[in-house]
Amino acid sequence: MRSTSTLVRLALVASLATVTLTAQQPAVPAPVSNQDLLNGLGADGANWLTFGGNYANHRFSPLTQITPENVGKLQPQWTFQTGTLGNFETTTLVRDNVLYVTGPQNVAWAVDARSGRQIWRYRRELPPNLTACCGLVNRGFAALGDRLFMVTLDAHLLALDMKTGAIVWDATLADYTQGYAATLAPVVVKDKVIVGVAGGEYGIRGFIDAYSADTGKQAWRFYTIPGPGEPGFNSWQGDSWKIGGTGVWVTGAYDPEQNLLFYGTGNPGPDYHSASREGDNLYSCALVALDADTGKLKWHYQFTPHDVHDYDATEVPILGDLMINGQLRKTVMFANRNGFYYTLDRTTGRVLVAKPFVQTTWAKSIDAQGRPVLEPGHTPDEKGETTCPDLTGGTNFWPPSFDPRTKMFFVNAREACATFYAYKPEYVAGQRFTGGAQQVVNTRDNRPWGALRAIDPATGERKWEYAMPTPSRAGLLTTASNLLFAGDGDGNFLALDSVSGKLLWRYQMGSPLHGTSPVTYMLDGRQHLLVPAGTSLTAWALPAESR
């Protein structure tokens, strides 16, 4: 009897303790929903749930706690080091005070946003003979429910458990021994995860794929090179379509209204040797608009028909509505590696604006049909020909930003030229297949340089520039307090006034930002900035009294 009463008392105490514990615990946020993704950064800008901040890839935050006046008071809160060879090229996701970040060599982490301490770490066991061109990098996670999605250098797509980093499913995109790899941040649309493959330097046949977020089963595939009988197939000479490259290694945009995905496609292969693949080589160096449910092509626009300078159109497309010649247009904005800035009608793919934003010598202009008017003498051969921009381009995969209030487009531009050479290559499966090389023009009096540029996307006119002595690969971030965050090519993290282009603050990070963008979010009532540079992540905020 006595013992029973003790048990009852103990049970009562225990249940009270549970109640107390539950009362003190903050509510667990609901899993990431499709509505969260559609909201983008929302009105509060507290989290960062998709590659570009929102589906339109604006990288524009509504947060205003950090301002041009107080940005000089930013203080580092902590630094996280990867302990891994290679650089960050990632966009970090932020959810409920936890950062989800992918690093080089397919290592990834969940990091406590308050302390910079690791919560979990995932590391993929990679095969030794990877063929990934241009760095063993990764550009970030996508999220849905309680899962994260990440592609790998051996061309797989993984779903990881957000709480533990454990693999939920593992889907094979392609055979990495044949030159395929994957580096982009996936995008989740409805119940599907959208990805693409890299390998334009290895004789792949590129594609964009969709997989069920639930099961990892493939939902559709869009080949970036049409097969026999399909429209565009005749734009490839002979069998060149089978090994024509045209990878997709940068994240696209999504327009929910039209249910369309917009992806930039890579260079045709072999990169430089024109005679190996006569024709326009569709859909290389293009923007493709695909139905998100079926992967069917709605329209395409080819920026660089029959490219011979490795001008991948794998830059980040930005969606926005602009007043052009007195008419409100639904547009997609695109600063291209080939040196031209474009505004296209995103319902038709028609060119509305096309203007060089850096020194560009391969084409004079873009004609009324949207076709480049070529300058003669810019087909590489064994002797070499000099063209601007160089191979890395007027810009590249590092994300631009768009301020939807001021309708201003910001791009990190490069001014560089190169001598391009071409040789007839021999195709060996899984081996490098470029058919040439470039040599950047770099003399005492003619050195490459870089500039952050503000462009009016309704006209292509430059509004301001901030010149940098070394070209930079930093992605951009803007905020509603008129700040632009970027990095220069010498390791300085920069804050500029986005209206005037004036430099307001800088900090030497010890490494440039390699293709990665800073993100911003709220943590315990304070706006934070997260800056990945080299092998480190550093969080910045204002001291409490400065707000």
Binding site: L85, G86, Q105, P128, N129, L130, T131, A132, C133, C134, G135, L136, E201, D271, G384, L391, T419, Y421, Y423, P425, E426, V428, Q431, R432, T434, G435, G436, A437, Q438, Q439, V440, T443, R444, D445, M468, P469, T470, D488, D490, G491, N492, R506, Q508
Partner: protein, 271 residues
């Protein structure tokens, strides 16, 4: 019975041994220390074609580096033929540098290395002429205030302890006579004028938009924040003067070149 057991044990050992051998990686054949195809004109020609097809995309058409590093100075920095052969064969794990396709025979690697060596190193045509001892005396008098060799000499110009493995006689002659200017990062002349009017002359070791790092003519290394100084002026010409025949007669030049050809580094064994 005993014999049967012994025979079984022997068979077992043999089978086990064979199994172990089958699982172990094939033994690496000995790599010759020196490139067996060095200076072979046909090999160099073939190596050039292979370099352009397979390597130039990352290392640049002139091998001076794009995404991958400059390969023209690898011997000058102390790498050896066999060490480089192993790097090309095995690749560099964790980087983009792949292991060579095992279907490529060894001689293809040697051909590429034979070609690369011609881009920087002296060629067989550079037969030594001149008096080495006098060359060293002239070098000490005319060059050593700026250039260091085997631990002696100045530091404002490039270190030359391995120059004999790095530059052809023709290239050195053109450089010394001033027929050709070479632009080497870290040795561009710069003048910093401080806010108090003090002038610091030296060479630029590094710089960015906000600062410049200098070795001055007294070899003091020091960084300056641009906003804290009056001016930073970069000269258009090399700090190295042209040594014409009045400054360096032809005989002395030959002797200096003969001396420089002997400079192969005090420790070439970096593998």
């Amino acid at each position: 019975m005993r014999r049967i057991i012994a025979a079984t044990v022997i068979v077992g050992c043999l089978a086990g041994g064979a199994l172990v051998r089958a699982q172990a990686p094939a033994p690496t054949p000995a790599v010759p220390r020196a490139n067996p195809l060095a200076s072979d004109p046909a090999a160099i020609q073939a190596g050039m074609a292979m370099f352009r097809q397979r390597c130039a995309d990352c290392h640049g058409m002139d091998a001076r580096g794009v995404r991958g590093p400059d390969l023209t100075q690898v011997w000058a920095s102390g790498r050896t033929d066999d060490g480089l052969f192993r790097t090309v064969r095995r690749g560099i794990p964790g980087t983009e540098m792949p292991a060579t396709n095992l279907r490529s025979p060894d001689d293809e690697v040697w051909k590429i290395l034979a070609y690369l060596k011609t881009l920087s190193a002296p060629t067989a045509a550079d037969a030594p002429v001149g008096n080495v001892a006098n060359g060293e005396r002239v070098f000490r008098a005319q060059c050593a205030s700026c250039h260091r060799v085997n631990g002696r000499g100045g530091r404002i110009g490039p270190e030359l302890s391995r120059i004999g493995s790095a530059r052809s006689r023709t290239a050195l002659t053109r450089r010394i006579r001033g027929a050709e200017e070479e632009w080497i990062e870290g040795y561009e002349p710069v003048t910093v004028t401080t806010k108090t009017g003090q002038t610091v002359r030296g060479v630029k070791k590094n710089s960015d938009a906000f600062s410049v790092q200098v070795m001055d003519t007294r070899e003091r290394i020091q960084g300056y924040v641009r906003s804290d100084v009056q001016t930073v002026t970069e000269a258009k010409q090399s700090a190295m003067p042209a040594f014409d025949v009045t400054r360096l007669p032809e005989n002395d030049l030959n002797d200096v070149l003969a001396y420089m050809a002997t400079l192969k580094g005090f420790d070439p064994a970096v593998r």
